[in-house]
């Protein structure tokens, strides 16, 4: 579904990604692991169109989408839940969700609103509250729910568990699995490597801007060097 081929992304003169290649097959959950500064978020931003790779190619649904802007990527069916959630803090929860469906012109938006609020009951409860007044976990739910409002084919999740209490992290991972089971392909960036590998089908490990390892998630879960570096024993 998504195929990233040898992209190099720079911040000014500093090279943040070095020949990164990633494949995301339709229907799967693929995870990108790595330490801080390894280039995970840069990879996500390059795919979503927020950063332009200097060279390399990105294909989505069989089309070359290299250099497209985020709104063009969204209209092709790729939604990003960014690091830090990007909640519109001065707009209500409901308005945030409506903005998620900004590009949609069909009549089923209302229906989808009900659906996501069924999935995230806390959002229904808080729907007229301003986005900025929600707790971290609620904001993460809102950010995911908002991305779902665009009916994405591929959902990019950048560190959805960051800064959340363990119980809520469990919730988030369960929700990601549900979303995937409903037919949405997921590309997940996580520092929480064990959890991510448990739900993913395929995994990539980034180190200083390079893919140093990739393979089926189950294999990586039992790989001694991965255990050492990312799983804590």
């Amino acid at each position: 579904m998504l195929s990233v081929k040898n992209i190099n992304t720079y911040y000014g003169n500093i090279q943040a990604l070095k020949n990164v290649s990633i494949d995301v097959p339709e229907g799967s959950i693929v995870t990108i692991l790595g330490a801080n500064g390894a280039g995970k978020t840069t990879t996500m931003k390059s795919i979503a169109g927020l950063l332009k790779p200097r060279d390399g190619k990105i294909e989505f649904l069989g089309q070359d989408v290299t250099g497209k802007t985020p709104d063009q990527m969204l209209s092709r069916g790729l939604a990003l839940v960014p690091e830090g959630r990007a909640i519109l803090s001065g707009m209500s929860v409901l308005e945030n969700l409506e903005m998620g469906a900004f590009q949609r012109r069909d009549k089923e938006v209302k229906q989808d609103l009900e659906k996501v609020m069924d999935r995230f009951p806390i959002l229904r409860e808080r729907r007229s509250q301003l986005g900025g007044t929600l707790s971290g976990g609620q904001q993460q739910m809102l950010s995911i729910a908002r991305a779902l409002m665009s009916r994405p084919k591929l959902l990019l999740l950048d560190e959805p568990s960051m800064g959340l209490a363990p119980l809520i992290v469990q919730d988030i991972f369960r929700i990601i699995q549900e979303i995937n089971a409903d037919g949405t392909t997921v590309l997940l960036v996580e520092q929480n490597a064990r959890q991510a590998l448990k739900i993913a089908h395929h995994a990539y490990v980034l180190e200083t801007g390079k893919v140093v390892k990739s393979g089926p998630a189950q294999e990586l879960l039992h790989d001694p060097s991965i255990k050492e570096a990312y799983l804590g024993h």
Binding site: G12, A48, G49, L50, T69, P70, D71, L74, S75, A79, L80, P82, A86, I87, L88, S89, G90, M91, E95, E98, M99, G100, F102, Q103, R146, S150
Partner: protein, 293 residues
């Protein structure tokens, strides 16, 4: 007397509010001060003179021409003076500000060239028309100005809070990056914002021409500075703040006149703004918690 001055103050204040709205929209979305806003306002006023005095056409045509010309000016401002500086490496954050100052000087000189340096009268068919209500005299012009100003403010508020495009503009004002990942074409939205802001300025220009019966190429500067003071007073980038701030400044200026200190009109009005800001540094409607806006 005081009642008449109150009416004057509200009329003036509602014009200030519209000028300030144009400022605040651009600041909200782009985080820059558009120093050319006052000159675009001045061009709107001259379009009014041109249409009603020179061509002897009705006032409604003046508004339409002012809207059209200032919309084009807004579009040119964005595409020629602002967009080329955006997102480029090594461009100072002050560059767009300097660029808009350049545009303002250019527009002022252009107006000098086309219209001459002097004052131009701005007469409408109902310039002299007035009503007596008890002891109070109300001019028809004031009613027209007030109604147009209120309609504009109500319309803009409704557009921002209820329509899809208005919500997208608010999303852009919060974060261009967040808006773009939600599917908003931010480039288009920025252009739209600058155009809407310029049109607000243009309409305000025609209203000021009507209110003061006088238009000159220099009028942009003082109005520009007042607009700036108002959005600082109301809270940068805040729509309600611009409206309230405009009314406060308008009322303050006219009430100073009531107490016989007309020579200190601007000084006292700005002193009031300084005092309000000492008490509320973030502006009347600004949020204290937000570090930047």
């Amino acid at each position: 007397m005081i009642l008449e001055q109150l009416i004057n103050g509200i009329t003036l204040g509602s014009i200030y509010a519209i000028v300030a709205l144009g400022y605040t929209l651009v600041f909200g979305v782009l985080d820059i001060l558009n120093m050319a806003h006052g000159e675009i306002f001045m061009f709107g006023a001259f379009m009014g003179v041109l249409v009603t005095n020179t061509l002897k056409l009705p006032l409604i045509v003046a508004f339409l021409v002012a809207i059209g010309v200032t919309a084009i000016l807004g579009f040119l401002l964005e595409t020629l003076a602002l967009r080329p500086l955006r997102g480029k490496k090594g461009v100072s954050h002050l560059a767009p500000l300097i660029s808009t100052i350049g545009v303002s000087i250019f527009l002022e000189n252009l107006a000098h060239h086309f219209f001459g340096a002097g004052n131009h009268p701005f007469r409408t068919s109902f310039s002299e028309m007035s009503f007596q209500i008890g002891t109070v005299t109300v001019y028809a012009v004031q009613i027209v100005i007030f109604v147009i100003a209120v309609l504009l403010m109500v319309g803009l508020s409704f557009w921002l809070s209820k329509t899809k495009a208005g919500k997208a503009l608010r999303a852009c004002a919060e974060s261009l990056e967040a808006a773009s990942i939600l599917g908003v074409n931010t480039k288009k939205m920025i252009t739209t914002t600058v155009i809407i802001a310029s049109v607000m300025g243009g309409i305000a220009g025609v209203l000021v021409g009507m209110a003061f019966n006088s238009v000159s190429p220099q009028m942009g500067l003082s109005m520009g500075l007042k607009g700036l003071a108002i959005i600082i007073l109301g809270g940068m980038g805040n729509v309600k703040g611009a409206m309230a701030g405009g009314l406060i400044l308008g009322l303050a200026e006219t009430l100073v006149v009531v107490f016989g200190e007309s020579g200190y009109r601007d000084a006292i009005a700005f002193a009031l703004i300084i005092i309000i800001l000492l008490v509320r540094p973030q502006g009347l409607f600004g949020k204290a918690s937000e570090a930047r806006r």
